[in-house]
Symmetry: C2
């Protein structure tokens, strides 16, 4: 499967081989010397005991294909999920992919001879929104990605706030101690109430009817289904509570919302903006904006990292 690319460009510079390893899907593309991404190739993320070897093999094969095509990359940009130490180039931990302390930068440089820009998928996608997208020119920003899970990329004075890879786990901040039980063991995590998966799951639990996803819950709510409305409104209220926590603790000027849920548009942004403003702590009310770089923010961010890795 391939997909078209957001209408964003990084400007002239080095060509970069870019790979965004997701929990389910891996996206591969290349940044050309004009600063645009080529078509994006989607493939299933490898699983199993040899996952690390297969991820590295995939990156190396991509670099070799670019060389064979006469467009050799000058760097690699690689982003992965989980806990990431971007300075050392190490994937510290992924529950989902089952790895721990993998020195990806070292492994890939050894096989390709190229510098490797390495980062966390959400943090890197957030950086693309900051540098190229919805938060361009802003300094204090949270990019909140609401998909199957919820995580945030945080920027203070324009600098990413990483906490050695542990920061930004907004999905596991408790918004209601009497709320739904979360896979992490706590009750009332934001992610257990407001992720796209949680919205579908909660509706199914209330009605006994399975739905395709959060989009269908929204459509049912808009068609007058009171139980769908309740689940949707509960998700909005939980997201507002999460954003108010960010406002109290960090006070971002802008909160960019990305991920699958943000495609709901006004049905999300109108009530969410109202809910955040209703009870924001005494102080700055953040401005909410939809993500702009969109589906390929991770790849664009990886391309930025790749170019920056060139000494």
């Amino acid at each position: 499967m391939t997909s078209a690319v957001a209408d964003v460009d990084l400007g002239p510079g080095a060509a970069v081989a870019v790979v965004d390893v997701g929990g389910t899907d891996t996206k591969t593309s290349m940044l050309d010397a004009s600063g645009r991404l080529s078509e994006v190739v989607h493939s299933p993320t490898p699983r199993g005991p040899d996952v690390v070897e297969r991820v590295v093999d995939g990156v190396v094969a991509h670099v070799e294909a670019m060389r064979a095509a006469g467009t050799p990359p000058q760097a690699v940009g690689l982003v992965v999920p989980g806990i990431v130490d971007s300075e050392r180039g190490v994937a510290v931990h992924s529950e989902n992919l089952g790895w721990r302390d993998v020195p990806y930068r070292e492994l890939i440089t050894a096989r390709t001879g190229l510098p490797v820009g390495f980062g966390h998928d959400v943090a890197t996608a957030g950086r693309a929104e900051l540098v190229l997208g919805a938060a361009r020119g802003e300094r204090d920003v949270a990019v909140v990605v609401v998909g199957t899970g919820i995580a945030a990329a945080l920027f203070v004075d324009g600098v990413p706030l990483l906490g050695h890879g542990w920061a930004g786990e907004l999905g596991h901040s408790v918004v209601d101690p009497r709320g739904a039980h979360c896979v992490c063991g706590a009750d009332g995590c934001l992610e257990a109430i407001a992720s796209t998966a949680a919205i579908a799951r909660r509706y199914a639990a209330v009605t006994g009817e399975a739905v395709a996803g959060s989009r269908e819950v929204l459509e049912r709510a808009q068609a007058g289904d009171a139980r769908a409305r309740e689940v949707w409104d509960g998700a909005i209220e939980a997201l507002a509570a999460g954003i108010r926590q960010l406002a109290a603790i960090l006070s971002p000027q802008v909160v960019v919302l990305g991920g699958g849920l943000s495609r709901a548009g006004d049905a999300l942004f109108a009530p969410l903006t109202a809910a955040v403003a209703r009870h924001v702590p005494p102080h700055r009310v953040p401005e909410l904006r939809p993500a702009k770089v969109g589906a390929h923010a991770g790849l664009l961010g990886a391309a930025l990292l790749g170019r920056e890795a060139i000494a």
Copy 2:
């Protein structure tokens, strides 16, 4: 009234006139060339329409007294509450003291000819803990001050996280949407449940008996008063929830607890450490430590700022 000073020193350097303007009390001291604070003088913080003039007059008088005594300061260190823009040297807003956009640095330099280090009281006190106290040598730190109010000084990679003066308002982060009503208008703010004032107030509301303060509520709980125990335990649970929010969003390695409540010692730290560990989000559990610089952290931090202001 005067008080003795913590056993901490900044090392040899410039003499500084230091003033910590609190919501109730103003503390004045001087840092000598050996790096120690003199005895601290407490006076009521001025109130009323001429509050700014009187604060400035007080600082100027202190500088002149030091000059008259033959120990002229080379800088002023001034800290104030509210929203503070430490870079510009401006007190942006204090609800409590009723000022807005006061250029204290400029006003004091004009009257004394001295450079002025200017900062937020809690942020500055937190910095003293980072540089001189309980978090010495740490990089990702939250210093949570639990007194009449609750606020946090946050450090990421050793750098203060200020949000242009708006960050760290942990007291107004909601920990329980069905919790006690807060003066800020929201329900269930941490401060409305767990500040020293809230603990006393909640006990009085439940029992109809006034108490001197949170310390008396703790003493009654320890003596077997079940209602006091419930109020105390509720405060611990709320503080743990606030610290877990910090852990999810920022992931500090160390959380230093200061302010009046921290003097409860083991009665606070033992159950709080257990409650934080019980449900920390999937990731780093912060280490809790009592504040070390103690009651005069604001003055010591102001002294640091004063020395740094000398070009």
